[in-house]
Symmetry: C2
Subunit: 416 residues, 2 copies
Amino acid sequence: MNEMLEQLGQKARRAESTVRSLSTNKKNEVLSAVADKLVECSPRLLSANALDVEAAERNHMAAGLVDRLLLTEDRIRGMAEGLRQLVDLEDPIGEVLGMKKRPNGLLIGQKRVPLGVVGIIYEARPNVTADAFGLCFKTGNVVILKGGSDALHSNEAIVDCIRETLEEKQVTSDAIQLISQTSRETTAEFMKMNQYVDVLIPRGGRGLIKAVVNESTIPVIETGTGNCHIYVDDSADLENAADIIINAKTQRVGVCNACESLLVHEKVKDELLPVLAQRLRAAHVEIRADEQAAALMPGAVPATEEDWGTEYLDYIISVKIVSSAEEAIAHINRYNTKHSEAIITNDYGNAQKFLDEVDAAAVYVNASTRFTDGFEFGYGAEIGISTQKLHARGPMGLLALTTSKYIIYGNGQIRP
Amino acid sequence: MNEMLEQLGQKARRAESTVRSLSTNKKNEVLSAVADKLVECSPRLLSANALDVEAAERNHMAAGLVDRLLLTEDRIRGMAEGLRQLVDLEDPIGEVLGMKKRPNGLLIGQKRVPLGVVGIIYEARPNVTADAFGLCFKTGNVVILKGGSDALHSNEAIVDCIRETLEEKQVTSDAIQLISQTSRETTAEFMKMNQYVDVLIPRGGRGLIKAVVNESTIPVIETGTGNCHIYVDDSADLENAADIIINAKTQRVGVCNACESLLVHEKVKDELLPVLAQRLRAAHVEIRADEQAAALMPGAVPATEEDWGTEYLDYIISVKIVSSAEEAIAHINRYNTKHSEAIITNDYGNAQKFLDEVDAAAVYVNASTRFTDGFEFGYGAEIGISTQKLHARGPMGLLALTTSKYIIYGNGQIRP
C-alpha cells in the first residue's frame, strides 16, 4: 500500500479509541469551537478557495460546478451554523438497548457505539468537509476525507482550521484527516483499506457512487440517485394532485427526491393532464409523454423507453397513462431507483397496496416526494439518503453512523 | 452476464413480490410441509448424498470435511426439526416502528420488510441448504444458493424437495433457486449481480469469506472468524477463571466463539497458571506461551508473534502475561477479529473499562465466550455471527434478514 495511506490509516486507528471515549460535553465543546474557528478563519478559507475557483475557471469548469465550489462569507457562516446545530442533537453513543436476562442468568444488551473510522469520498464541494467532520465527530467516529481535486486548497484550509481547534481543545487532531493525493490510484487504494476503514460513504453524483460501489472492498453505504414517481389514482383529488406534482417536480430540480416521472390513471387523464400541462409549461418543464398523455398535453414530446429509467435532475418530466394501481406499482418497481415514490388517492385499498408493494426507501400517500430528507424527517442532521437495504435505508441521521456491540454481564457462566 | 445467471436473477426478482406478500400463516404452513417432505424424501436425499460422499472419498477429501458432507437419517430429521423451530418464531415482517407525526401533519413510520433476494455462498455442507431456505423464507425473502461443488447432488436433491413442496402449496418454486454451475467464473459473476441480488451472505471458512468480501460488488454480511481472548484480571476468582477458560477452549474447538488466546495479569500468574496448565494438558490442549507464562506452564512451547493473531480452531491456546487491564485491552484491540472477548474480574472499574473499550461484537464479564450464538442469545435461529459493523453485529437472528422502508401518510403536504 501507498505509504502515505498506510500512515494515515494507522493514525486513524490510533485516534479511534480516544475519539470513541470523548464525553458528549467534550464533543459539543469542540464542535462549537470549530464553528467559531471557521468564521474566524474566513480570510484564510476565502483565499485558499480563490485558488481553486480560479483554476476551475481556467479549466472551463461548468458554471453550476463552480458555484458548488465557491465559498463566501455567508457560506462559511452556514458551515459553522451546521456544526452548531449538531451540538443540540442528542448523542446516540452509549445508549444500551434491550438489556435482557437469559435463563442462565446472563444479562445481555446492545450498546450503541461508533462505527470507528469512516471514509468519505466526495466531489468538489468544500462544505461537505466541515459537515462530514461534524457528523462523524458527534458520533465518536474518526473521519478520513477524500474530496475532489478541484477543491483541494479549500479542503486543506478547512481541515487545517479543524485540526488546529482540536489541538487547542487537547483532542487528537487525527480525528480528521484529509487525503491530499488526488490521483485515481490513491482513491482506488483507499477503497481497499479494509484494515483501517470501517465504512465508506460516497457523497456525490451517480458516477462517483457507482465507482465506489464497484471498486470498494470496504462496506459502503450507497446514497443517492432518485428516479422518483408520482402515481395519480382514479380516486385522487386532482387539484391536490397537481399541486403535489408541481411541488415535487419544480420546488428544486437538481435533487434526488424530486419527481422525475408521472403515472396517471386513464380515468382521470382527460381532466388532469391539460391543466397540469399548462402549469408545467408555466414552470418551464419539458414534458416527455406516451401517446395517450401527449394527446392531452400540448407541447409534449414522445417519451422513449429510456425516459422511464432516467433521473433527469432537470426541468423535464416523463408522463405515462396506466389502467390500474397494479400497473403503476409494477412500472415503478421495474424502473425506480428505490428512493421515493408517491400515490395520490382517496381509495383506502389502493393506498395500502401502494405502501405495501412499492419497493423503495420512502413510500408516500398524498404528499410530495420532496420530504425525503433527514431534516424533514426530524433527525436534525443528514448524512445522505441511503438507497441500499443494508444498515440504513432512506434519510440517514446520526444513528446511521453508529453500530452496536453486545455487552454481557455474567457471574461465572460456562456453556454446558 | 452468463445466461443461466441472468435467467435465474430474473426469476428471483419475479418471485420477490409474491414471497414478500405471503402471510405468516402461509409461510409457516410451507415450512412445516417442507420439514415433512424432507423426512419423506430421505431415501432420495441419501442416495444423492452417497454420490457426493463417494466422489469426495475418491478425491481423498479430509475426513472432517467428508463428515460435514455426509447426510444420515438422523441429520435429515435434524434439518426438518430446524425448519419446524422456525414456525414457532415471531414473524418480524410488517411491524411498523416508531410512527411519528411531524409538525406539518405527515405521519412517518418505518415498516419492517424483507431484504428481497438473498444470495448465500457456502461450502460442501448440505444442511445449510435447508437452513438458509428456512431463514430466508420465514422472513419473506427469495434465496439463491451457491453451495460447494462437492455437495452438488445433495443440494440438488434437497432443493428439488423444497421446490416440489412449494408447488404443492401453490407458492412459486422460484422462492429458492440453486446455482448448479459450480465453476469459479460463475461464482465470480454471481457476486456482481447487483441488479438481482440485494445482499450476499458467505457461510464458511475464512478463505471463502475473504474471497466474497474482496470480489463482491453486492453488499455483503461478513460472518465469521474469531480470534477470541479471555483476560484474567488480578481481582479474578481464579477457580472460576479456570473453569471458564477450559469451557471456552475445549467445549468445542472448531467454532468461531472458542477461546484462542489467554491474557493473565502478572499478579495472579503464579497461582493460576500451574493449575491451569495441568487442566489444559489433561484436555490435550497445546500451550504456546510467552516467556513468563511458559516458566509456569510445564510443556508449553514458545509463542511467536504470529500466534497472537491466529485463530487455531484446534486444541491449541496462546498465553501471554500482561501487567494491567489497559495492556490487555490494547493487546486485544490489536490482534482480535472483533468477535467475542471476555474479562474475568471482580473489579468494578476494570469490568466497565473492558466493556467500554474492547472493540468486538460481544464483550463479556465473567462468562465463557462460547455463548456468542443466536440460540444462546434467545433469537431461536441463527444466520451466522456478523463480525462487521454495518447492518448487523454479533449473532444474527431473523431481524438481520430484514430491512425497513419509510411509510408516510399525508393529506396533501407539499414542501414549502
